[in-house]
Structures are given as C-alpha cells and as structure tokens.
Point group: C2
Chain length 362, copies 2
C-alpha cells in the first residue's frame, strides 16, 4: 500500500486500522462525524485529521462506520473519490451490497472499486482510546468481492489485510453471511436465550453455577446496540438456522414430555451425539484440524504469582500448554487452573507436578 | 466421621470419595459390580475390597452408582445395613426420592437414614484411574434432606462433604432439581443444539469460528450416555424451562421474519438486554457477587514458557490475574492470552506490559 488511506469512522476498528497502517509509514487521514472521536484518534497517532479544504486523492477509503449507515457512507466515498478503492468492514455483507446495487444516483460501474470485507477482531472494549495497531494480527479477515469488483480493488483490499498482519479468507458475500450466521450469530442468540432465563432465578440457585453455564453465557454480555444492527442485517440467513433450531427444540420438548416412552432415551442420545459430532468439527488451535486435548486441573492459592510458578514448572518439565482456563470455586479463596496438553503428555505431567507438590485434582 | 464407610460404585466419584476419606485415616470399603473397576480402586488406595464373608456394620454407605440404578442400590443398602446412614450422589434428586417412597417392600421408616446429595465435581475423565482425593475440594456439595431424613443422617452426610473439603449447600430435592435444570441442564441442551447445527457446515465456514462459538459449544462434547440418564430423570423441570425457551425462540423467529417491521429492532434489543441482565447475575469468582473485570489481550509466541514469563512479569508489576483464557488464532503460530484484572488496574498494567516489550492488542 502506498497511501494515502482515508479512514471514515474512528471507533475501535477504524482507529486500530489507522494505527496499524501508520506503523508501516503509510499516510492515513481519519474522519469521524464525532469531533471528539476524531480528535482522540488523531491524538493516539491513528492518522492526521481530515481537512475539507485539502484536495485529497486517497488510494483507499476504509469505511468503518456503524453497520446501518455503512452502505450510504460507501456510496458517498465512491462518488466523492472517483479514483479510490473503497472497502467497508461491517460484519454482514449481503445486505450492504444489495443496498448499494439498488441505490438511485450511484453509478453502478463505480462498484468495480468496492470490496466488502470483514475483519473478525475487536470486542469487549470500544472507541478509539481502546485502539491497537496489532488488533488484527493473526485474526481472520474475510474479503467478499462482488461480481463487479475489479481485480485491482481486490488486490488493494488484500494488501490492507496483509499489512495489518491478518489471515485473509475469500468468500462470496452470501457464503460469508451464511458462515457468520452459523459460527457467530447463532451462538450469540442461543447464549442470550440461556442468559435471559436467569433474570428471575433465585440467587441461591445461581450459586450452583459452574463453568458450563459461564461458558455458554459469556457472550450474552455483548453490546445490544451493535448486535441489533448485525442480527437485523443478517435476518434471512439467521431465520433459516433458527427455524432448524426450533424443529430440534420441538422434538426435544416432545421427548421431555414423555421421558419414559419408547424411543425417548434414544432421541436424547441422538441430540447429545449430534452435538458431540458438531463440536468435534470446530477447528483447533491455529486453524488446524480439531484435536482432542487432555485436561488436568491443578489447585492453586488465589494470590499473585501462583499461576506463573505453575506454568514455569510445567515449562521446566518440558510440556507445552495448549490451552488454559481458570475455574472459580464457590466460597473459598482457592483457584483451579485447567490445563490442556497433548494426550500423550498428560500422565507424565500429572506425576511430575504431584512430585513437585502441586495438587492435581483431576 | 469414624467409619467404616462403604462406597458402592468405584467410578471416578466413588473412588475419589474413597481416596479422600482414606487420606483422613477413615476405614473405607469399596464395592463395584465390575471386578476390574473395584480392583483398580483398591490398587490406587481408595479403600479395601468388599468381602461378603465379613460382617460389616458401616457408619455410612455412599451410593455412587449410575443414576438410573441409584434408587434400587439405596434401597438395598438401607435394608442390608439397618444401622447405617445412606447417601447417594446422583445429580438429580427428586426422581430418586419418589422412586424410594413408592418402592414396595422398603420399610418407609428406613428413609430416616437416607439423605440425597449432589457433589458438583468431576468431569472430562471417568473411571477409578482418574480419581483424586481432592476432587471435591472447594466445589459445591448439595445436601437434599427429605422430610423423613433424621437430624443424625443429615449430620453424617454433612461430615462427609466437610471431610472432603467441599462447600456445603442445603436445598430441598425440588429446589435442587429446579436449580440444576437451569444452571446445568439448560446450558447443556442449548450447547448441544448449537453444536448439532455444525454437523453439515462446510469446513470453510467453520474456519471463521472464534471464541464465542468455542465457549458456547464446549460442553456439547459431554458424554451422551450419562446425560441421557440425567436429562431423563429431570424431565419435568427441564420441560418447563425449555417451553419458556421455545416461547422466546418463537418471538425471535417472528422478529427475524420481518426485521424491518415496526418494533422488530426493539424486540431484538430486548432479548439482548435480558441476556445482559441474566448474565450479570451469575456469581463471580469464589461465589462472591458478580464483578465486571476488565480484559486485556496479549500476543505471545506459541512455545513453552511464554505464558509463564508473561504471568511472572504481571506478578512483578503487582497485579493479580482474576481470570485467564487463551485465544486461538487462525493459521498462525501465535497465541493470544486474555487476562482479566480489576478495572482500576487495567490501564497501568497495559502501559507497564508495553514498556516491557509485550504486545498488548486490546
């Protein structure tokens, strides 16, 4: 990328893109309808402030606006910068392309300069102050070229993702929306459906909550205002999936209504087994094939340095920790650290840790 | 506890109870219909082998049999050891009590010596070889006395849990079954419903899977044969909850069918907000009130010792890690470590870590 790059929208993602490109020495101009957000982005070094008086001819315009205004901002950029490639980074792609294709007054040949993209990074925090130039490092960045997109436009979009150290995937807009409906929007909705059941639960019942409930409901804490836009924009794909869920749920309710009827146990076993199979298809660490790791649980005191000591010793033993989670015990100042390792390493590691005085409980 | 304690069933839980009690010097006798399982339990030190010829008068009989034979084994123990307290450890309580109360030939006054209990520990692995005396340390152990249970029986059951370092909760069988239906069985079913959707997904779509999907589907890997027994035994409570889920799901499907209709966005926002509220009610670490921690993400190389170094330095900086997770990036040999700390500690920690050369990406 040679620049200049104009970033429209200086929230977490826009400002992070600016920071990442600036770190590569590329000229970045940031613009935001909120003067405060724009000023913060400039202050943290995400680019220089947009100046109406300057005759800017950007190589690339990155539209990092909220999903529900993205299409209009893309159209304005295509019209206002007639030699620039324009990409957006909204998390649903088909609806935006359809809106652009149906837009009165937008010359359709300008769509050769547009590529929809979706960097799958950024969460928990928002706003330019939380921006990091390395936000996209090693994360998927999906390019969704339309039939109108020129090879040049795709190449520029690709360079953007590569310059920010992302891992590039190529999908059609339709494939993308189907994939994210399944791997992102479905779990979000199901997590919210579970968590919403807890609103009126007695606190005493919740005291029995374990890691299963915590895992399933973690993303139920997500920001409603952003998700309403995402879910609304991907409604057709989601509708199809949720109808499939309802069919399964109806079958399950039927089974639970007569749990001793012939075939009831088989029905339950089938649901659980299908769940086993689906879960095992999720790719493992680093995008490789799903791998079943072995877990062990170690009891540690809840004070600084304990987990570090444990991991240091595991390193000394020479075993690589594939995954690690902390378990929260009810009522006591004791933590449980769950560690996953290659299955062949587990037995030896348990023995070595116990010899060193660690309490391995599982 | 003075013992002897007779443990009927030497799977993971039975053998762990034996090991824990033996560590306190209590005489334990283990018995299992499988001679192999019993021999393994004896070999690891979970107790001495049951001997028919010995006139045993146990203080306590612990029934650690599969859920669907538990009631019968409890009844036999109440009859066979007329001075012993009998507890079971199955994860659904109402159905077992009802079965005992309806059992022909069981003198109902013998139920004064019975207390249903549920230690909420043990998973991933099964069998006596995976047993640990510390399995129950700091974990909830629910006592579900019936109206018939004598004060003496409850006291003995309480001593068992305390001797194994568990945290004791007292619920009625009905309260217990309602609570676990919500905090354990509901998330299990919803996780399986999500994962079962992935059975026919193209692998390319699954390559976009992130932590959200992994969290929601983690428990979908659970053992079907055990869960069929649990779900079947708690069907009435679960049925009520799943019908509520279906009502919410129908409303959602209705909204997704007409996502631009008046009120559609409000409906979606309400579901998300109810999810936020429910999620925030789940108790935090150590059973205390839910606390919102601040997260930061650090990029580390995927080789032994990196996480240990990171945590050692965080310890040096003087910040306590409240929770820790590993994030799996697609395609690259780089790991992301997500760390949660008290909100007031976050900004300083980020600055200190970056000064020390760590890549903090969020």
């Amino acid at each position: 990328m040679s620049g200049p790059v104009l970033v429209l929208g200086s929230g977490l993602l826009g400002a992070s893109i600016g920071l990442g490109l600036r770190a590569r020495g590329i000229d970045v101009v940031v613009s935001d309808p909120s003067p405060t957000a724009q000023a913060v982005a400039v202050d943290i070094g995400a680019g220089r402030a947009f100046n109406k008086a300057e005759a800017l001819a950007p190589q690339l315009v990155v539209v990092a606006a909220p999903p529900d205004v993205t299409a209009q901002v893309v159209a304005d950029a295509l019209t206002g910068y007639p030699s620039a490639v324009v990409v957006d980074i909204a998390s649903v792609k088909g609806a935006i392309l359809a809106e652009l294709q149906a837009m009165d007054g937008l010359p359709q040949d300008s769509l050769s300069r547009y590529v929809g993209t979706h960097p799958m990074a950024g969460r928990e925090l928002s706003g330019p102050a939380a921006a990091r130039g390395e936000l996209f490092n090693s994360m998927p960045w999906v390019l969704c070229a339309s039939e109108a997109s020129s090879a040049h436009a795709v190449k520029v979009a690709h360079s953007l993702a590569i310059d920010l150290d992302a891992v590039v995937f190529r999908f059609t807009p339709d494939e993308h929306d189907g994939a994210v409906a399944l791997v992102s929007h479905l779990p979000q909705l199901m997590s919210s459906l579970v968590a919403s059941r807890l609103a009126e639960t007695p606190a005493s019942s919740l005291s029995l909550a374990g890691n299963g409930l915590r895992d399933v409901t973690r993303i139920a804490a997500s920001d409603p205002s952003l998700w309403v836009q995402i879910l609304g924009a991907n409604a057709p794909k989601l509708l199809e999936i949720m109808k499939g869920v309802r069919t399964d749920l109806d079958r399950l309710i039927n089974t639970l209504s007569a749990p001793t009827a012939p075939g009831a146990r088989l029905d339950l076993a089938q649901l659980m087994t299908e769940g086993n199979e689906g879960q095992s298809r999720i790719p493992g660490k680093h995008g490789g094939p799903a791998q079943q790791y072995s877990w062990l649980t170690v009891l540690v005191d809840d004070r600084p340095g304990q987990i570090a000591s444990l991991l240091t010793e595991i390193g000394e033993i020479g075993v690589n920790v594939e995954d690690l989670r902390m378990d929260h015990s009810a009522g006591l100042q004791v933590g449980m650290v769950e560690i996953s390792v290659l299955p062949a390493k587990r037995a030896g590691l348990v023995e070595d840790l116990m010899e060193r005085g660690w309490k391995v409980v599982q």
